[in-house]
Structures are given as C-alpha cells and as structure tokens.
Subunit: 189 residues, 2 copies
C-alpha cells in the first residue's frame, strides 16, 4: 500500500489535464483514480463528490483565464485592449478545450460570487473605458462582448466554421473590427 500523496489541489490539477486530453465530460472520479493508479474510493478523502471535482476544475480555469486576461490588458486601451482580451479567451479555449468547457459550468450563486468570474466582468468593463458609453450602455456592451466572445469561441470549437471559406481567423479579425466600430458608434435607444 504505497501512498501516492493525493491532495485536492493535485487532483483538480490532474482533472484539468484529463479534461483537456479526453474532454470535460469524460472527467470522472474513476478515470482520475486510474490516472493515479489508485482505487476510486480513495479520492473521496479529498473530494466531496464528482460535482466537487468539476467545480474545482471550473474555478481553476476561471482563475487562469482571468490571470491571462489581466496580463493581456496591462498597458493596452481601446481596440487594442478589446482584441487582446478577446484573443485570451479564444486562445485559451484552443489550448485548453477541456478547461474552457469547465469554465462554462453553471456554478451556484455563492460559488460564482467568490470565483474569478467577477474579475472577468471587471476586465470587460475596463475595456469600455476606452470608449464613450454612458453607465447603462456600458452594461449592455459588457453583455454584448461576453456574448460574442463566448458564442464565437463555442461555435468555433464545435466545428461550426471549420469546413467553409473564409477561414475562421479572418472572420475573427473582422468581427473584432465590427465590435470596435459598434462601441465607437453605440446607437442611442
């Protein structure tokens, strides 16, 4: 009975790797146990439940994403900042599809409020400082940007844009151009 040195931390990190390799929906307590060459039941000393594991991966992903976003935004403003943050999401999803999928997990309100999710909203709002929007319009714009980032990345990852011209990168650039123009010329009600 060799002790492998399991930790909640290590398990969640390994779970994130498993998610990226096999897909988030293949993340199971059993699969994770196999990865450590340990019996499934052993993980329950460190994890409350399967849901707990998934939530942990989601929180990790949200944090990594927020860190990358903060780094990308530093020293940038306006369209530059817009494109930088947008690319953080898209690139992260391509590098870490499983983690990105985890980040979409619906969290219960308390967990969400304590997560890095709030930093994401703040970062998007920070971008809008480079544009001239009134307060309620800022919220509308935050929601628009969130929708486009999430929507585009999720459709792209689902293969929606794979087999047709023009290629996805071209569209992505043009969509960021369009969003920039929209924010500069935000229509009155």
């Amino acid at each position: 009975m060799v002790r492998v040195g399991l930790t909640t931390e290590r398990l969640i990190r390994a779970g994130a790797e498993l998610a990226d390799e096999a897909g988030f929906d293949h993340v199971t307590v059993a699969a994770l146990a196999r990865r450590f060459d340990v019996k499934t039941a052993s993980l329950y000393s460190h994890l409350k439940s399967s849901q707990d594991l998934k939530t942990g991966i989601a929180l990790l992903a949200l944090e990594e994403l927020a860190d990358r976003g903060a780094a990308a935004l530093a020293g940038r403003a306006g369209k530059d900042a817009l494109a930088a943050l947008a690319n953080v999401y898209r690139d992260y999803a391509r590098e870490h599809p499983g983690r990105y999928a985890a980040a979409q997990l619906r969290l219960d309100p308390e967990t969400a409020a304590a997560s890095a999710g709030v930093r994401h909203a703040q970062m998007t709002r920070a971008i809008l400082r480079g544009y001239d929007l009134t307060e309620p319009d800022q919220t509308h714009a935050v929601r628009l940007l969130g929708s486009v980032f999430h929507g585009y990345v999720s459709l792209e990852m689902g293969g929606g844009f794979s087999h047709s011209a023009p290629d996805s990168q071209e569209t992505w650039t043009r969509i960021l151009d369009a969003l920039d123009a929209t924010l500069r010329n935000w229509p009155a009600p």
Copy 2:
C-alpha cells in the same frame, strides 16, 4: 405484459419533454423507460443507444427551431427580420430549455449535414439580404449573428444576467439595435 406501443418517434418526443422538465443532462434511457412504466432494456428495440436518443432530441429541436424561424421570417426584412429570428432563438430557449440545450449537441458531420442545421444558416443569410454586404462579408456577418444569438441566449439561461440591472430584456433590445447598426455600417477591412 401489456404493450404500451413504443416507437422511436414517441420515445424521442417524450425524451424532449423530459429534457425540458428535468434538464438535458438528466435524459437517460432509464428515466425514459420509467416514464412509460416499462423496463429499460425494452427501449433498446427502438433506440440504438443512449447517444442515439440524445441525437434524436437534438434533431427534433433543430427542426422545430428552423420551422419557427421560417415562420417568423416570412414577410419580414431588414431589422424587422433580424429581431424576429433572434427572438425565435431566445424564446425557444426559454420555453424549451432542455430541447435548446440538445440543439447545441455536437453532431457528427454527416448527421449535421442532413439536419435542419443547414436551414438555420440559410435563414441567417436571408436576413442579410436586407443589408448591403459583399459575399465574404456576408459570411463574417452570419458568423457574428450566430455567435451573438447563441452566446447571449446561453449566458442568459446560465443566469449570467439575472441579478443585475438593467434587466435582460432591455439589453437584448439594445443589442439588436447595435447589431442592426453594425450591419448597416459594416466596416471595410
């Protein structure tokens, strides 16, 4: 041994109802069997697998959505058409959250090509006839609209906009205004 009269058709339709009531991820062959007061194994005469059931629900949802879209677009053009199709997605997701979630299921290429999914792309393209866009820009715009519709609806359903002002309906209206303006003034590369 009373025969209940199971059919693939009936099973998929009941599965869609189950999805709306309990959530798409609670749709299982076992749960569906309980609903018909029948043993789980009995469903395998009509369904190849659990995946088969889920795919069936997805195809049903895509078709219902496409039908609603076609009806909504009839006789409309420009911003009117844009708002009509957008509302079809949003309303459908609210009325049938389970089916809507099913429609996001990733289908294998052949299945997708034979699905109502292609009608969705056609409808979005049809909207763009009311705007003045060159061919490649039309594709970019189709992808933008798809991203916003899907992204917004999915964030809204995840509760992302629930507990903050202004309310979601207001934002939705303003986003449609912004999209209309963007399409009318699509920026050159």
